[in-house]
């Protein structure tokens, strides 16, 4: 049973990453199962973003293997992993300022769009139909995250919480099989964070791999069913929120600050 679930998900095994003499990740393994919200936490500098970038293909670990639904990912760059159905969000909001929110989400559908170069310059009936279909899907994604009402606004006119949701809408729009979110709650206020969590719970599907990287312990504990804890480039614990809360290493290195107070 466990085996079958594993081969469906996003698996990283024994990932090691070093920049020169600096070992950022040391023999890190994690399994992201479909249908489960997985969390990755760790203090600043623990290597969360490095591991995230290894999963998305921005970095390539010196050692280790990764695979998605049984397909090896080693050597594939971000664009190729996107073609495998893996999408991500960015910690610093990655919106194009010249495009409306809807158009920003439309770009997320690029890999799914089939109109050729000719119809990019000359409107054809087929291109119009394709454009309408893409806009409908982008609108549906914005709707799913509850921000369809500002679809035609420019990013510069919108608060960061809305833009964060739009980034997730962009990731969702192309119906990916895995969504990796890099600190989705960074820079959000309490209300926006609650909206975000509600939205994330709503978009969970049985066949979707969802990873949330955060340093906000409360958010991770509330949202995730499976949690990995990273410290100094090593995976020190993994398990359910209850297991993590009780884990002595986690209490020492992560929650220790509060215990000392």
């Amino acid at each position: 049973m466990m085996e079958a679930a594993t081969s469906n998900g996003l698996v990283a095994e024994g990932i090691s990453l070093a920049f020169g003499g600096l070992h950022v990740l040391n023999d890190v393994s994690m399994t992201l199962r479909p249908g489960v919200v997985t969390g990755l936490i760790g203090p600043n500098g623990a290597g969360k973003t490095s591991l995230f970038n290894c999963l998305t293909g921005l970095y390539h670990g010196q050692r280790g293997r990764s695979s998605f639904a049984g397909t090896p990912l080693n050597g594939l760059g971000p664009a190729q992993r996107a073609a495998c159905g893996i999408t991500r969000s960015f910690q610093n909001l990655a919106m194009c300022p010249d495009l409306s929110l809807l158009e920003n989400v439309l770009v997320g559908l690029t890999l799914k769009r089939r109109s050729g170069w000719f119809s990019a310059f000359v409107p054809t009936p087929a291109q119009r139909a394709e454009q309408r279909d893409a806009e409908r899907r982008a609108m549906a994604a914005l709707n799913e995250l509850g921000i369809a009402s500002v679809a035609h606004e420019k990013p510069s006119d919108l608060p960061p919480g809305t833009l964060r949701l739009a980034e997730i809408a962009r990731a969702v729009a192309c119906e990916p099989r895995a969504i990796l979110l890099d600190e989705p709650a960074a820079g959000l206020n309490a209300v926006e964070t609650r909206d975000l969590m509600r939205a994330l719970r709503r978009l969970m599907r049985p066949d979707l791999v969802l990873l949330v990287v955060e340093h906000d312990m409360d958010l991770i504990m509330e949202l995730c069913e499976q949690i990995y804890v990273l410290n100094f480039g090593r995976m020190i614990a993994s398990g359910t929120p209850a297991e993590i809360r009780a884990h002595p290493d986690v209490i020492r290195v992560y929650l220790g600050d509060e215990a000392d107070d």
Binding site: P78, M95, P97, W117
Partner: protein
């Protein structure tokens, strides 16, 4: 729809997305109407100058397109313009065919040449790409003179074939150039909303995010350069057609720099008015200031600096000394 497309290219066309006729769209129609009727009032040299303005406006658009969708600057686009112009001349001299054949052919040749240049330089950007394009502009006069057998050397070639026999040449030149310019502006407005156009804008603004959506940087760079070179060659083909002649004099190293000046004067916009302003600037200033001679490049330099400062700051006064106590 056509009107709203044109309107959207100008910044004012806020309501264009709804497809309604609006002020910007109507003013655009007015511009086109005036240009359509202009030959009734003007003739001779003015008509000839305006035809060249339209062709140069297209060349300016090719540079602006590279700036807008690629975030890159080329100072060697005169290479592709010359390629298009000579394609028309050579097709006429060797094959005896008119622009019905040579206009599309020149565009395809431009795309091919753009791709051949862009693919090896796909990892270059900013000043490095600009310098690489400079090599094209520098090599151009040598190539034109060196391949004398095809290009006619220093003397160049004449282009005499009509598109439609029986109609006065000046009118043909004028209306063909105008029609192509308007069609290209419409096509560019459509391109801005297309999947490829959006992907290019994203690749330029957020390269890493675009990569995560499957849009690679090298795809973006090669595509936009190829398209822009194709448009430059189309512009060149019309320059040749409208001026009835091609010669190395029209394609010096400075031609490429002037195109960039024209693009900046049009604020790198892809709208019809911006293209007309840029095209008119680089066509009419040298013509009407012919006596100024060596001063033209200096004037261009001043125009470049002023437009850049005004466009970026919006107010030249901030460069003046501040009053005490402020």
């Amino acid at each position: 729809m056509a009107v709203s497309d044109l309107a959207q290219t100008s910044k004012a066309g806020v309501s264009a997305r709804s497809g309604h006729f609006d002020v910007a769209g109507l003013s655009m129609l007015a511009v086109v109407a005036v240009l359509l009727l202009a030959p009734l009032l003007a003739g001779g040299f003015l008509l000839y100058s305006l035809s060249l303005c339209f062709a140069n406006a297209l060349a300016v658009l090719s540079v602006s397109m590279l700036v807008r969708f690629g975030g890159e600057v080329s100072i060697g686009h005169s290479f592709f313009v010359a390629l298009g112009a000579y394609a028309v001349a050579i097709v006429e001299h060797r094959l005896g065919l008119s622009i019905v054949v040579s206009l599309p052919l020149a565009t395809l040749l431009g795309a091919g040449a753009g791709f051949v240049f862009a693919f090896p330089s796909r990892r270059l950007s900013g000043i490095y790409l600009a310098v690489a394009t400079m090599a094209l502009a520098l090599a151009l006069p040598e190539i034109l003179i060196g391949f004398e057998k095809f290009t006619g050397g220093f003397e160049g070639l004449y282009i005499a074939q009509d598109l439609i026999p029986g109609i006065p040449k000046a009118l043909q030149h004028y209306y063909v150039a105008l029609a192509v310019l308007v069609l290209v502006c419409l096509a560019l407005a459509h391109f801005r909303k297309s999947a490829q156009g959006l992907a290019l804008l994203m690749a330029q603004a957020q390269p890493r995010a675009a990569e995560a959506m499957g849009i690679t940087r090298s795809w973006a760079r090669v595509s936009i350069f190829t398209l822009s070179a194709a448009l430059a060659a189309l512009a060149g083909a019309l320059t040749g057609f409208a001026s009835s002649t091609v010669s190395p004099n029209s394609f010096t190293f400075f031609s490429g720099v002037f195109l960039l000046v024209g693009s900046v004067v049009g604020l790198n916009r892809l709208s019809l008015p911006a293209a007309l302003v840029g095209g008119a600037f680089i066509t009419l200033v040298p013509t009407y200031l012919a006596q100024a001679g060596d001063w033209v490049p200096i004037l261009y330099g001043v125009a470049l600096v002023v437009v850049t400062l005004v466009a970026n700051g919006g107010d030249l006064r901030r460069f003046l000394p501040r009053r005490v106590g402020r």
